[in-house]
């Protein structure tokens, strides 16, 4: 909905920034408990808890504080680094990790707004990666042109895979959840096949592609010391585009209308077939863009695990961002930070990386349930101020099934 009178900042405040902060805090506390309970030193000290209880408490505290401090150093600002560049290095890692998440999540979010639960970012990303790899190593072109072609290829690959879902859904009514899940696997196997055949690196027996030509790579933004590449700016541009699309464009209006009330949209003359297909095409194209960021930005070659879990994380990111482009942007940064911070935390303190998943999911849950957070922190729940329309607020289709 276009609500030009409210700025994003105001909306953030209204959505209860305090609750969000508390939600994050609560998640870290739960994660901290897990860390403490499984920490080796803490367990050791617990063995003689009654003899010297402070040992256990301080051991627990050390474990938790150490882990989180390391995470902060790895994701935001490394106060231990000797140089300024070293200090801001973590931040650039966060941005790098956020890049593919961001575009894929934008795609998921746009599909959500059209009432489509797109679990297929993974497959769309893979198709984008396949095409951008292929263009990236077979062609010999000058830099900006080659990269441009790569990006177009990525968009096209994802758009095809997403559009196929939209088309099948609109044509046959087949459920998009089934279609996207199945197509993820088809894409993965297609990738595996190509990596053992047409896309296999010469002289290699492993399923990896050749390295893409330098002219097909996103140039590094801050020099060779940093992995941050132009793909990040492309993702920022994609966010701006998505914002315009969803808040200012006629197509976005149609997408939202179809997502909110298909019958009314049809009555108002909106071509629901076209919108369903286009929404999935755009969603797929954005996920495809993540494929380009992976291949032509960070990895430089294609492998079977090119999509990692980006396509699935993107769903969470999109939901956390309430399917609003700006929200998705910040959610992607948060998840990027976890990714970057998790690396340092794991190495510096030996805390298993899985804890990051736990904390991440708790954050999403708590942020989505403000009354729970208020209750946990003993803040009085304001009566009658009920979360009136939670499903609308979250921006996800409420149902998996059914043509709304």
């Amino acid at each position: 909905m276009s609500s030009p009178t409210r700025s994003p900042l105001q909306r953030l405040r209204r959505s209860g920034a305090l609750v969000s902060v508390l939600a994050i805090l609560a998640s870290f506390v739960v994660g901290g408990l897990l860390i403490a309970f499984t920490d080796r030193d803490t367990k050791e000290a617990a063995g003689y808890f009654f003899a010297r209880p402070t040992d256990m408490l301080s051991a627990a505290w050390d474990a938790v504080a150490g882990a989180y401090a390391a995470m902060f150093r790895g994701a935001v600002f490394n106060y231990d680094a000797g140089t300024f560049l070293g200090m801001i290095h973590p931040l650039t890692e966060t941005l790098t990790a956020a890049t593919p998440l961001l575009t894929a999540a934008l795609g998921v979010a746009i599909a959500f707004r059209a009432g489509l639960f797109n679990i297929g970012a993974q497959g769309q990303l893979i198709l984008g990666a396949i095409l951008s790899t292929w263009i990236g190593f077979t062609l010999e072109l000058a830099w900006p042109l080659h990269l441009l072609l790569v990006v177009l290829g990525a968009l096209l690959g994802g758009a095809l895979w997403g559009g196929l879902v939209g088309w099948l859904k609109a044509r046959t009514g087949a459920h998009e959840v089934i279609l996207t899940i199945m197509l993820n696997y088809v894409a993965l196997n297609l990738l595996g096949y190509l990596l053992n055949n047409a896309l296999q690196r010469e002289g290699s027996t492993n399923p990896v592609s050749p390295v893409v030509n330098p002219s097909a790579q996103y140039p590094l933004l801050l020099g060779p010391e940093f992995r941050l590449h132009l793909g990040f700016l492309v993702a920022v541009a994609a966010t701006a585009f998505a914002w315009w699309l969803m808040n200012r464009s006629t197509l976005g209006f149609e997408i939202k209308a179809v997502g909110a009330n298909r019958a009314a949209a049809r009555t108002a003359g909106i071509d629901t077939f076209k919108v369903t297909v286009l929404a999935m095409v755009i969603a797929g194209a954005l996920a495809g863009l993540s494929g380009a960021a992976q291949v032509n930005g960070t990895e430089k070659f294609l492998s079977e695990s090119i999509a990692a879990s980006i396509g699935f994380d993107a769903i969470t990111v999109a939901l956390l961002g309430r399917s609003r482009p700006i929200g998705v942007f910040f959610a992607a940064l948060l998840f990027g930070a976890f990714r970057a911070g998790g690396v340092t935390m794991q190495i510096a303190t030996g805390t298993p990386i899985d804890i990051v998943l736990v904390v991440q999911s708790l954050i999403v849950l708590f942020i989505a349930a403000p009354p729970l957070v208020r209750a946990m922190f003993g803040l009085n729940e304001r009566r009658g101020k009920k979360n009136k329309n939670p499903k609308g607020a979250a921006g996800a289709p409420a149902t998996v099934g059914g043509d709304q």
């Binding site: 909905m1 276009s2 609500s3 030009p4 009178t5 315009w244 200012r248 464009s249 006629t250 197509l251 976005g252 209006f253 149609e254 939202k256 209308a257 909110a260 009330n261 019958a263 009314a264 949209a265 049809r266 009555t267 108002a268 003359g269 909106i270 071509d271 009658g384 101020k385 329309n389 609308g392």
Partner: protein, 526 residues
């Protein structure tokens, strides 16, 4: 059973929907609640039925205070309710719906639907309902669904029956039948609370009338009071129920429908070779019992049906085969019969709903971009012009009451240059105050020399608005008759007589073929 409500107050957050309401319902009487949309009638009934917990006040049954923790308790005390929006599970059969919550079972919780079927048949026979217990509810016409709701209450032996706007979707004949049934129930000692916006039937059934305005009881009225009086009491200002309209013969034929046939998914023709002309500046009212092809007629014109053949020409231009968008853009305005499903998008702002079918055209759009300032400005204008009751046009449409949602739809359609205006059931469930407003706006459109089609199952509305009246039965056109044709004749046509047969029949029975209420003006264009 004697029911007393004492000081019932119900607040939603800060908003007080019921403000210490007192009410006494005597056994074997019909007590009518009258009030505008949003006056708080349904809320009060929901409190009584245990669906809402009252903020204050108490309920007494036969002098004993009772407390309901849920509808189960209310039913246990002999209260039955037919809700304004039917509480039937569409995919269930009648028997399953009736059984729900009060199931007969055999061992191990296995349903014994036979017992329920028997009970349904019993009640159905007693009151002549003619309901098949094994029919699936979603396949039934609304009138029958209504009866299923009543059966549900009766099978549970309700001593007090609440009927919340039971006639909103009924045809005149069904309404008459319902009134009969209410009479029978009353005679058997059942107390009835009746809610309706239709003053004619209110006058027909009520023993007592209580008028509610903005959550408060503002008085009682005598059923013999005249309609205008009741309306004024209800709205709190003088209401002029007669539109004082002039008849119009219309100008040139603008819309020509020829041989229009619509075949549904099962291959059954739901519209059968219909020919219709609509002239500039006239209102053609299309009457007919729900499910006889009116919906398909307007949807065919709008390009919303498939399996359509024939020809629909607007000013000589063929509409059939064009997309909905092209049809809208060629100047057809449309008020769909189900506003909340087809008319507005509940989660969109009122402002966005006001441009729902011209969001992609200048001035609302520039190229592929929307212009929020134009949308906002348009909204402010329309909210003022159409008196849409809302604190802000940025609120979502779902926060509006039905009448106000309808105003949004109308405002949207009237903000374009129209060449044809179609309104289906424009005032269904809307209170008299709003009806007056909506009717005036539709007439004003006609007077701008635009051809208008109004589809309604409401004979009052048909007679009120129609310059000519077309009647559909089983997808076929029974005839087109003058606007002042009597209810009697229209009723016969809606039951399947052709116009000639109907006039002959009415003549034979010696009744008037014209409506005495209708000022009989000879031709002449306004």
């Amino acid at each position: 059973m004697k029911l007393e409500l004492q000081g019932i107050t119900k607040a939603f957050g800060g908003f007080v929907a019921n403000d210490s309401i007192d009410l006494v319902v005597e056994p074997g009487t019909v007590h009518t609640l009258l009030g505008e949309n949003g006056a708080g009638k349904s809320t009060l009934m929901n409190v009584l039925f245990g669906l809402y917990e009252p903020t204050a006040g108490r309920i007494l049954i036969d002098g004993e205070p009772v407390a309901f923790r849920g509808p189960g308790d209310a039913m246990a005390h002999g209260i039955g309710m037919v809700h304004q929006h039917f509480m039937l599970v569409p995919v269930f059969t009648v028997a399953e719906n009736v059984a729900l919550g009060d199931e007969r079972t055999r061992a191990a919780g296995i349903l014994d639907l036979e017992q329920t079927r028997r009970a349904v048949r019993e009640v159905s026979d007693r009151y002549g309902f003619n309901v098949d217990p094994d029919a699936r509810v979603e396949d039934l016409p609304v009138g029958v669904q209504q009866r299923v709701e009543i059966i549900k209450a009766l099978v549970r032996r309700a001593d007090l029956l609440i009927l919340d706007e039971p006639t909103a979707v009924l045809t005149p004949k069904e309404t008459d039948e319902l009134i009969d049934i209410i009479g029978q129930l009353k005679a058997s000692g059942t107390a009835i609370i009746f809610i309706s916006h239709k003053l004619r039937e209110v006058k027909a059934v009520s023993d007592t009338i209580t008028v509610i305005r903005r959550g408060k009881v503002v008085g009682t009225a005598d059923p013999s009071a005249d309609a205008t009086e009741l309306a004024s009491l209800m709205v709190g200002r003088a209401v002029d129920l007669s539109l004082g309209r002039r008849h119009s013969d219309g100008g040139d034929v603008s819309l020509e429908i020829r041989d229009l046939t619509v075949i549904d998914e099962l291959g059954v023709p739901v519209l059968d070779h219909v020919d219709l002309d609509v002239r500039r500046g006239e209102i053609l009212a299309v009457a007919g019992v729900q499910g006889n092809g009116q919906t398909e007629l307007v949807e065919a014109v709008m390009g919303l049906t498939s399996g359509t053949s024939g020809s629909i020409r607007l000013e000589g231009r063929e509409l059939l085969g064009r997309s909905v968008k092209e049809i809208i853009n060629s100047g057809v305005g449309y008020v769909p019969e189900d506003r909340s499903t087809d008319g507005v998008i509940g989660s969109f702002s009122i402002a966005d709903n006001l441009v729902l079918n011209r969001y992609d055209r200048a001035p609302v759009a520039r190229g592929a971009s929307l212009r929020p300032s134009i949308i906002a400005q348009n909204a402010d204008e329309k909210v003022r012009e159409f008196d849409i009751r809302t604190p802000s046009a940025q609120n979502t449409a779902s926060t509006l009451s039905g009448g106000n949602q309808q105003k949004v739809v109308l405002a949207r359609e009237f903000s374009r240059e129209l060449k044809l205006f179609i309104a289906a059931q424009p005032t269904r469930g809307v209170d008299v105050g709003s009806i007056e407003f909506l009717h005036r706006r539709i007439l004003a459109e006609r007077d701008k020399d635009i051809p208008v089609i109004v589809v309604s199952t409401e004979l009052d509305e048909v007679a009120e608005l129609g310059d000519r009246i077309a009647v559909l039965f089983h997808g076929r056109l029974m005839g087109i008759v003058p606007g002042n044709t009597s209810r009697e004749v229209l009723g016969l046509m809606m039951a399947g007589s052709t116009a000639e047969e109907a006039f002959a029949e009415a003549d034979r029975s010696g009744r008037s073929t014209t409506d005495p209420d209708e000022p009989q003006l000879p031709g002449g264009i306004a």
